[in-house]
Structures are given as structure tokens and as C-alpha cells.
Symmetry: C2
Subunit: 147 residues, 2 copies
DNA sequence: CACAATTGTATTGTGTGCAATATAATAAAC
DNA sequence: GTTTATTATATTGCACACAATACAATTGTG
């Protein structure tokens, strides 16, 4: 097999599909005035509030270079607050505001709306997610075999 | 199932894995002084030279807002030329320089090197690629059911 | 305790992605 | 054949991603 062909690469469909899926999210997230990465941060906080920047980064595999400006924008929108941890002034704790918590209700049906765009049954979706998650764990920095 | 949980989303693993895979490419592409999207453009041109900006965009699902500056950078590196099509002055034809063609030899073993990072057998990889490609076609703009 | 190493976040700079708009060339409509 | 519509690329502006660096707070070491 000629490996230097776009059609034979595993990585291009991954790259392209990721962007196309984000594009499907966009009109839904526009209503909440959120970008996709901002939505991911909100998802994490809705699940468990009061995370440090580092904890958010661990969950989302993003560093402070990406998160700090993103979080400042969420702060400007009054969805979160950013405050230094008095017990360890290096850390910054991210906390949902009431408006941030309220937004969860408006986001509740996004997963269902999105699912409708995919002609894929639940079983197949779960299996695909499992496969992607396994690969993700192989590559993630917490895997010792990647230093 | 609580759909508003990060762990239950299909899209987050897709987003995160895409970035992690690009990160695996990075040290390999650094040697060629290429970014991942630049590498994708070169892949298309190695397969068939003399593409217009629009044709590259169709293949890679990128628009001129992304491609134009990217192609200018490849031009600065003397890997491609950009010239208006005399038969239709609106189009810009992208052509590999000799240096651009020569670079293919240096890129030849990237797919193999990359594969080693994935603990996934060929059969599984092909099936996963098929699944991603199918989803991609469902979402791509050429699919009528998406307008 | 002093002081070096580490940790957590922020900043800077570069390169995408993408929406919105601009512009020039071609095609279509009349 | 002029006018209008469409097409192909470019430009602008904003928001990621991420490498590299900076900096302050904390921890480890003697």
C-alpha cells in the first residue's frame, strides 16, 4: 500500500472529521455564545465545579497557553470567576457563576441534536468512542511509554 | 445516560485524539520544517501536482482563508510556486518546485514511523479509517442533506 | 534558615481555522 | 453587448493550539 497517499492515512480523516463535527456544533453553540473549547470547559465545570486551571488542562489536554485567555473570555462573559487559591497562591480556582450554572439548562439538548446529524446507531457510536478513547490513552502524556 | 458528561461525548475523544496525533507527527515534521496542515498540502501535491487553491481546499476541507496564508509560507520556503492561471485569471495554480518534489523522499517513512506509535493492527486501523471516512462523508458539504 | 529546584499560571509569538467581507475575473441574462 | 450574477482567491479579525519563556509561590535540600 502506498502510505504517502491522503486516502490511506488514518490521521487525515481524524483531523478533518474533528473539524467537521465542530462545525456541526457551531450553530448550536452560537445560541449560547460559546466556542467548542469554551463549551468543553463548561462541560467539565457543570460536572464538577471549582477546578484549577491545571485540572481543567488535565481533563481537556490543554495547557495554560490555551486555557488562560479562554478562561479570561469566559470570565468577561460572567460565566465563571477566576480566583487565586489562598492556600496556594500559584493556583487559580475556576468557579461557575449563577449565569454559568444556568447555562447548563440551555445546553441540555445539544448532545441529542448533534446525534441526529450522525447516521450512526448508539451501539456503533459507543464502540467508536471506545476505540478513540483507547488510542487517546496510548498517546496521552500520562502513558509512561511516551516519557 | 447523562449526555452532558465529557466522558459520554463522542466528539471530545475525536477532538482530543486529533490534536494528540498531530503532536506525534510534530517531531517528525519538524525535521522537514513543515506543520501538519502544510504536510497535508504537500501530500496532495505529491500525489498530483498543479492543483488550484480550490482543488486543494476540496481535498482538505479548508477554505482560502486558511490556505492562502499557508501556501504563501510554503512559497517562501521555496517548496511551491503560486501562479495565476492565464486561461482563468481568478484561479491560482500551485506547483511543486524541485525542492518540493525532493522533500517527498524525506517524508517517505513518516507513515511507518507514525504507525509504530499506535498499538493498533492494520486490520483495525483500516476499519477505523473506514468508519471515520463514512462519518466524514455524512457531514461533508458535498452531501446534499446538509444543504 | 538560606537557597536551589520545582510547580502553576501567565505571556509572547507563530500558525492555523473560519466567518465575513472585498475584489477581480468570468459567466449568465437580458 | 451591456448589465448582473457567480466564482475564485485574498484580506481582516477573532479564537484557538502550542512552543518557549517568564515569574511568582511553594517545596526540597543542605
Amino acid at each position: 500500500m502506498k502510505k504517502l497517499l491522503l486516502q490511506n492515512q488514518l490521521c487525515f480523516p481524524l483531523y478533518a472529521l474533528s473539524r467537521q463535527v465542530t462545525a456541526v456544533y457551531r450553530p448550536l453553540l452560537d445560541k449560547l455564545e460559546l466556542t467548542y473549547p469554551q463549551y468543553l470547559v463548561m462541560l467539565v465545570l457543570w460536572e464538577a465545579d471549582n477546578k484549577t486551571v491545571g485540572e481543567l488542562g488535565d481533563k481537556l489536554l490543554l495547557d495554560s497557553g490555551t486555557l488562560t485567555p479562554l478562561l479570561k473570555r469566559l470570565e468577561q462573559k460572567k460565566l465563571i470567576t477566576r480566583q487565586r487559591n489562598p492556600a496556594d497562591e500559584r493556583q487559580v480556582t475556576i468557579t461557575l457563576t449563577e449565569a454559568g450554572r444556568d447555562l447548563q439548562a440551555l445546553a441540555a439538548d445539544i448532545p441529542t441534536q448533534l446525534q441526529a446529524s450522525f447516521q450512526i446507531d448508539d451501539q456503533q457510536a459507543i464502540q467508536l468512542r471506545q476505540q478513540l478513547t483507547t488510542l487517546l490513552q496510548q498517546l496521552s502524556p500520562t502513558n509512561e511509554s511516551n516519557q
